[in-house]
């Protein structure tokens, strides 16, 4: 039988606010345990929550970024359950009236195809603390620093049909939230986590199969692998005549498998009800319009513009718009040098190669966009040739040239890399090379005319060497051919 996979994602994004969603404690990562858990985060008797305006603004910005409806009124509810990392015995969340209504996210697949994934809604909630299972005489330690960190939970429709689509969706969400600057998107630190709902059904069948929920997957790669494993497990189960049980599973990256979380399976009844300590959040149109007006250009729009206005290929536009840092770097290079294709080639070629080799993010590039743009300007105006340009790039990478925006010029000057375009000077070098290479000249002369084209390479190389790479290669070619042919 042919099976079709159906996937829906719940992505939890930690919002990059300075303070917590309902308290004035810091959200900074990595502090000593419980030093950033204030009375409100600890749920001490009598404390009350007050909503952080920035968390609201960020949620709305996300909603606008996915063209979602922004309801005028949203309401916080309490999700009641006991767990040591949940200090109040309930999580303040939004069950019935979320802050972001239905929207959509465009994803780009490897074959360049585009697909729209619908977002059911996104809601604000508070993060829980952390349980540390190191050995405290058989006890578990609880750190509540993370408790109360604002989360935006983005719930998709079950619109994805493969692990690749799910990963592409997750990347698209990552790119949107980082473009908006509403999250650092750091998956290793847990700033973005996702729960994956997976089911399979016979191809052509309309009804969904029974789904399993894989909790807390925290990397793009793990999402793909968890889904691949889970699909295989469910298909095998069904083909053997078994049934998929609706349950929560955990992905174990080391064993590369998902496992049932039986301990948490017992009857959950969260008893949601509106939080009486918080009032309905009402967003007036002027506020939403103001945020809309200040929204940065988002990846999909950028990609479109790179393709249509700058004439980049779909592939280049996709790569260069994938992250805000990359796009901004590229745009600055383009602004300085004025040539989109050259800028794209350099950013994706020399620069990306060097960054990858050193394991650096583009934000940490030792070569600034202004410096790279300055370098490309000199390629375009024929001041240097391609080979010299690579030398200049290496010098910039190693911090030569004074670090100013015009460092490329300083390096060209210092290293004498300026291209020689003076015909007289090039002719003199050619004459010298011909004089020094009688055997090669003889071979050239004796060769069939149609083989001579290939043989000219030797002479070009010698001339370039004599010029220490600064001679204009096109001129060298042309003049050499004229001179050699004159000898034949």
């Amino acid at each position: 039988m042919q099976w079709e996979t159906v996937i829906g994602l719940e992505v939890h994004v930690q919002l990059a606010t300075r303070s917590k969603i309902f308290s004035g404690a810091s959200t900074a990562f990595g502090a000593e345990p419980n030093t950033q858990a204030c009375a409100v985060d600890l749920g001490l008797p009598g404390v009350l929550p007050v909503l952080n305006e920035q968390a609201v603004a960020m949620a709305v910005q996300f909603g606008l970024g996915i063209h979602a409806e922004i309801p005028e009124v949203s309401v916080f509810d309490r999700k009641n359950y006991f767990y040591p990392d949940l200090p109040k015995g309930y999580q303040t969340s939004q069950m019935y009236e979320p802050i972001v209504g239905p929207g959509e996210v465009e994803i780009l697949l490897d074959d360049g195809e585009r697909k729209t994934v619908r977002v059911h809604h996104a809601h604000l909630e508070e993060d829980a603390g952390k349980s540390l299972h190191e050995d405290f005489h058989g006890m578990t330690g609880i750190d509540l620093n993370r408790a109360g960190t604002p989360l935006l939970e983005i719930v998709s429709e079950p619109d994805m049909r493969s692990a690749k689509e799910a990963a592409a969706y997750l990347k698209a969400i990552h790119s949107i939230v980082t473009y908006l600057g509403i999250s650092d998107g750091n998956m290793a630190e847990g700033s973005m986590r996702c729960d994956v709902n997976v089911s399979v059904r016979p191809k052509g069948q309309e009804a969904f199969g029974t789904r399993a929920e894989i909790k807390n997957v925290n990397s793009f790669r793990f999402v793909e692998r968890a889904i691949e494993f889970e699909v295989e497990r469910q298909v095998e189960l069904l083909e053997d005549g078994g049934k998929v049980v609706q349950e929560t599973r955990l992905f174990d990256p080391e064993a590369d498998e998902t496992r049932s979380m039986r301990t948490k399976e017992e009857a959950n009844d969260y008893r949601y009800f509106p939080c009486p300590d918080l009032l309905p959040v009402v967003l007036d149109q002027a506020y939403v319009d103001h945020l809309r007006g200040n929204l940065p250009e988002l990846p999909a729009a950028k990609r479109e513009r790179f393709q249509n206005e700058l004439g980049l290929s779909a592939y280049d536009a996709g790569v260069l718009s994938a992250s805000r840092a990359m796009a901004e770097y590229f745009e600055r290079v383009h602004e300085v040098c004025g040539d989109a294709k050259q800028a794209a080639n350099w950013v994706q070629g020399e620069l990306s190669g060097a960054l990858n080799r050193e394991g650096l993010a583009i934000a940490d590039s030792p070569v600034s966009a202004d410096q790279l743009g300055g370098l490309i300007v000199r390629v375009i105006d024929d001041t240097i040739n391609g080979k010299a340009a690579k030398q200049v790039f290496q010098a910039l990478w190693h911090g030569e040239g004074g670090g100013e925006n015009n460092s490329a010029d300083a390096i060209i000057e210092a290293k004498g890399l300026k291209q020689v375009t003076d015909t007289g000077a090039i002719e003199a070098m050619i004459d010298q090379v011909i004089a020094d290479s009688p055997a090669q000249v003889a071979q050239y002369r004796d060769a069939e005319p149609d083989k001579r084209g290939k043989m000219i390479g030797y002479f070009v190389g010698q001339v370039m060497k004599a010029s220490r790479g600064t001679a204009n290669p096109q001129q060298v070619n042309k003049l050499l051919k004229e001179k050699l042919d004159a000898l034949c």
Binding site: T17, R18, S19, S23, G24, A25, S26, E32, P33, N34, T35, Q36, A37, C38, A39, V40, L42, L44, V50, L51, N52, E53, Q54, A55, V56, V75, N80, F82, P84, S131, L132, H133, F136, G138, M139, T140, G141, I142, D143, L144, L250, M261, T263, A267, D269, R271, P274, P276, L278, L279, P280, V281, V282
Partner: protein, 95 residues
Amino acid sequence: MALEHADVLRAAHLARLGLDEGEADRYLDDLGRILEMVDQLQSLDTDGVEPLAHPLDATQRLRADEVTEGDQRETFQRCAPAVENGLYLVPRVVE
């Protein structure tokens, strides 16, 4: 809506309240009578009435995103029953 013994045990479990059988019986009786009283609500026609969560029709005020709370771990943990290395201790949690 008649209350059953199992309902009491289920509520007690959800609320993490230890009850022995005798207590469960007693609460079944009390709760049954309370719910009987509460069931008068069912006789009222409330079609078209919006639920009222807060007595004033007020809306949420927002806080500026500022860090106003410093480290008070020592103070807060003075009233904690079991702490070690700044962590609250609970019996081992099995994931």
